[in-house]
Amino acid sequence: MAGSNNESAHDSTMHQPNKSFQRALGWIVPAAAAIFLLVLFPPFHVVRRSGPGAASSGSSVASSVFEPVAFVEKFWTEQLLPAARRAPELAPILADLRRDPAAASKAHARRVGVGTTAYYFARGSGRVTAVARSRLLVEIDGAAGATVALRTGPVFGNAVRDGSGLLDLNNVPGLAEFNALSAELNRKVEESVLPSLRGASVAVGARITFAGCAEAPESVGDGPLLVIVPVKAEVGS
């Protein structure tokens, strides 16, 4: 027994450095593993308030600053005016509209989202037959006497935004911004297009070439078939 105890004590002395190492290893291994895992799977994340991951601010699109004025300036020159030059002729649309407004709407008008509201985007020319306070009545060339009204007063609604078919709600941060686009487009029409239609040269008999957007009517009567918001207009003699 005594020999056995001596042997044990000897073993203990022999293994002292080894024991310290093992004891240290007992802490180091789990600590290293924990650190490794903490790095691999951090329990929390530091994110920028306006960054893509910020739950309160929504998506990166929603959190970015949307500038309707700058957007509309670019859209107007780079997309809308080129599209206006290529827009469908108005006369055939008016012929269809006279026959069957619902069928004409289905064939020629654009819808945004769910609902019955639809818009035409077309170009045409004609002769002014009446000048009213906020509109001009124009008899369209080649449309068998059909008339339209060109808006010359304050512009409201979404005809320009939705009529061209070039703008999508999902390309802007949200509905508020989409509506801001509409208001800015209307302001742009009032600023850039309507002054040319309010001048002294615009009288009964004047010739007008234009392109614009109009809400599709559910039915048509004896008056103008469409009320068009012009995005481009030239007055001749």
């Binding site: 895992l37 304050p154 409201f156 949200g174």
Partner: protein, 374 residues
């Protein structure tokens, strides 16, 4: 800003217990351990002890930390990998309030359409309380719902609820009210309140004229639609400087409150020409106040919503106009999209606007039952 991902500890009992129970099982079997040797264990038999301890710690840490996903991943809307909700046959309808009949129509139509499509559908009423809404989301996530037809209480505050649900594979389809994020909900079917109010504003100028005085009754001031409607309306009428707003006051979208508020306004401004109300319940209350003051024939009343009683009142010449919001179309579209989602479809437009249409005395015959007559 520190955002802590929700800790979802998905313990794997078999793995964790297998290594940790070895000590317990040793004691249970009556194996005694010399306390001295616990601190000086150098024998080959005792070496695995700290290794086992290390393994336990590391395993537990990995289980614990592995459950914490990066914030970006938790925000991912239901994608191909998030298919847990897609196997469910349960659909939740979470609605901001059931105190307003318009929202009752929205919620019940959504629930009924989901049931027609073969789902177990339940309505959760948030009572205009974001904390109640959050609790509803906790419950429906835990209860294994596959889709949520959602009318939010807060355009920004509700985003976190939607993200929690979509991260678990649950499809969330917003109805009527927008949440201000493009990457949270599966899809949003939205009523374009601003554009509807623009149409009301144009009709207002047509009926009242370009000069006169009017009052505006606002809805809940914290509600985004209150301001969308007010801004849309003012974007038109403010262009006519001789149209003067003599009073603007909140009546909380409530009929009785609107009656009381307009009674007070009429005492100060007895000669107003018109009242614009942010919803139809307030329009009915305003009409009652005008009736009591014997001014119902002199003052034009404009509402918003397309509620049945107001559509009838327009037909009877009592109210001038409202804006029809089509709650049934929104609810049915949302329920049918949820059905497609649960069948595996993942390609939905983020936002779908639903047109708001002007209802006047000229076209009122085309409307009824919260929409267009069939």
């Amino acid at each position: 800003m520190v955002a802590c991902g929700k800790l979802l500890i998905a313990l794997n009992p078999s793995a964790a217990s297998a290594s940790c129970l070895s000590d317990k099982s040793a004691s249970a079997k009556g194996v005694s351990v010399d306390p001295q040797l616990e601190h000086h264990d150098s024998s080959p038999m005792r070496t695995p002890r700290y290794l086992r301890l290390s393994t336990c710690v590391a395993l537990f840490a990995s289980l614990l930390l592995g459950a914490c996903k990066p914030a970006g991943e938790t925000a991912t809307p239901a994608g191909p990998g998030a298919a847990a909700g897609a196997k469910s046959r349960r659909v939740a309808v979470v609605v901001s309030t059931l105190n307003n009949p318009w929202f009752v129509v929205l919620a019940e139509t959504a629930r009924n359409r989901a049931r027609e499509l073969g789902y177990e559908a339940t309505i959760f009423d948030s009572q205009n309380d974001p904390s109640k809404e959050s609790t509803h989301f906790d419950n429906l996530i835990a209860s294994g719902y596959g889709a949520v037809l959602f009318n939010c209480t807060d355009a920004e505050g509700s985003i976190a609820n939607v993200r929690r649900a979509t991260a678990r594979g649950i499809g969330v389809f917003c109805m009527d009210r927008e949440i201000k994020a493009n990457d949270a909900a599966t899809s949003q079917i939205l009523s374009d309140n601003y554009s509807g109010a623009v149409a009301i504003g144009e009709h207002f100028v047509e009926k009242v004229g370009e000069s006169g005085t009017y009052a505006e009754l606002l809805g809940l001031v914290a509600d985004t639609n209150t301001w969308n409607r007010s801004k849309g309306f003012h974007s038109v009428v403010d262009r006519f400087p001789d149209l003067k707003m003599v009073a603007q006051q909140s009546a909380d979208f409530d009929r009785t409150r609107a009656m009381e508020v307009l009674e007070t306004i009429l005492q100060a401004h007895p000669d107003i020409d018109a009242v614009f109300c942010g919803n139809d319940a307030m329009a009915m209350g305003a009409y009652q106040a005008l009736l009591a003051a014997r001014k119902a024939d002199q003052v034009e009343v404009f509402g918003f919503d397309g509620a049945d009683d107001v559509v009838r009142a327009i037909a009877e010449g009592k109210i001038t106009a409202t804006a029809m919001q089509f709650p049934k179309i929104m609810a049915i579209t949302a329920a049918e999209n949820a059905d497609k989602f649960l069948e595996g479809e993942r390609n939905f437009p983020q936002r779908v606007p639903v047109t708001v249409e002007l209802v006047t005395q000229e076209n009122v015959h085309k409307f009824g039952d919260h929409g267009r007559k069939q």
